[in-house]
Symmetry: C2
Subunit: 248 residues, 2 copies
């Protein structure tokens, strides 16, 4: 049986995981769980690559992963075996063969994240691990006005740190807020992100939405490129890696 | 300070609780947590009554509770103190004074439950504690056709057990299914329910929806009044106590 490269869509509940990327042995991660199940299946080490390294507590509806495997029982049985072996917090909901050189991170052209704010006076027990509770009312117009500045190619140094050897410029294709009571949801699509960028953006935008910051304060912080002028990052449990796009 | 009767709306995440009603000391319950916090506040035992005794794992958006308390710092501070003392899985999102003889169970005239089915080929990690995963496609028309039979006053002995000394007749005001991809949600409103009634109904209706049962099988089981002819009850984690109504 020869090795084939696979590509899969993965959903996970980030609560209880130390992020996507494999860590020390005693810290469960999404990559670690996926690699363990694959290793069980073929009795050999398998390396899983992901499109985005989500932080501890961050969720995904559309993480893209890839791995090479020598498997002879067909795609459907591989997906079933994966889902049977994975813990309840992780599932593979699409699986296909990929080109031998496919790389989920290097070949991605657009990445969409969603951030869910629960905007009501009292916290919600049912949404506590899936959203950020903001009790002060959010002004949608201000959120949207500040977000419009993000669209285009800009230096995002205020809102995140570049991976070593990379610059801090990124291209944002869209950044929109929508209210669906009692939630206010943010969706952003960009070519790529700096570390902590979405959560720092949401933290700073929510400061505008609650009128702790004026839109002008946001603009100045953004232009300054000074990391210390970002608001505290929004908590991880409201963030979802929604979708990754390849090609144009 | 004299005792005042309060009425409150409570939301909770049923996962990790042994239902609403207080159990043995080592089994956490919603009633138990509420009573513990109230007792802390006034340094005296307080008895909490609920409108519905939800089972282990069942959630609530609109549980109604009542208790008597000697409190002199106002409603708002009482609600804040309750929410500060309660665990993250329980919250009081409305609090008011009630008539001295108000009883959340005896005075309730309508109770609405919601049941959430996650209907897709692969299970959802993000919804695993908030829904029932049914992988076979559900036929909405069949679900709805069978549910229509429930409306009116009927003997529901097939689908549940009456509390001691009560009959098995109940009046259902509405019973509807709605699809909102990838969910199919059931909402039922009745004057009251038998033990396990909503979950047994959903289990049997889903058997119709997946075409394991014909609508005719459901009708015969319903008419038989034979508890052994119900399908297995749907799992607790998909069920939500949505709202309680008082008066007409």
């Amino acid at each position: 049986v020869h090795q084939v490269r696979y590509r899969a869509l993965v959903e996970y509940d980030g609560s209880g995981y130390f992020g996507f990327q494999r860590q020390r042995r005693d810290q469960p991660t999404i990559q670690g769980e996926l690699e363990n199940v694959l290793q069980e299946l073929v009795q050999a080490p398998v390396r899983v690559t992901g499109a985005g390294r989500t932080d501890s507590g961050v969720h995904a509806m559309g993480q893209v992963i890839s791995f090479e495997l020598a498997w002879q029982h067909g795609l459907e049985s591989l997906q079933r075996a994966l889902n049977a072996g994975l813990p309840a917090g992780i599932a593979v909901y699409q699986l296909e063969e990929a080109a031998a050189d496919f790389h989920p991170r290097f070949h991605a052209t657009r990445r969409a994240y969603r951030y869910l704010v629960y905007n009501a006076p009292v916290r919600s027990p049912l949404w506590r691990l899936r959203s950020w509770h903001v009790s002060r009312p959010l002004l949608l117009e201000s959120l949207q006005e500040a977000s419009t500045m993000l669209v285009g190619e800009h230096d995002f140094a205020t809102f995140g740190v570049a991976p070593q050897g990379e610059l801090t410029r990124r291209e944002v294709f869209s950044a929109d807020w929508r209210r669906q009571e009692p939630f206010v949801a943010f969706r952003i699509e960009a070519n790529a992100y700096l570390y902590r960028m979405v959560r720092s953006l949401v933290g700073s935008l929510v400061a505008v939405g609650t009128q702790s910051w004026r839109v002008e304060d946001f603009r100045e912080a953004f232009k300054s490129g000074d990391r210390s002028r970002s608001a505290a990052p929004a908590p991880a449990q409201g963030l979802y890696l929604e979708a990754i796009q390849y090609g144009v």
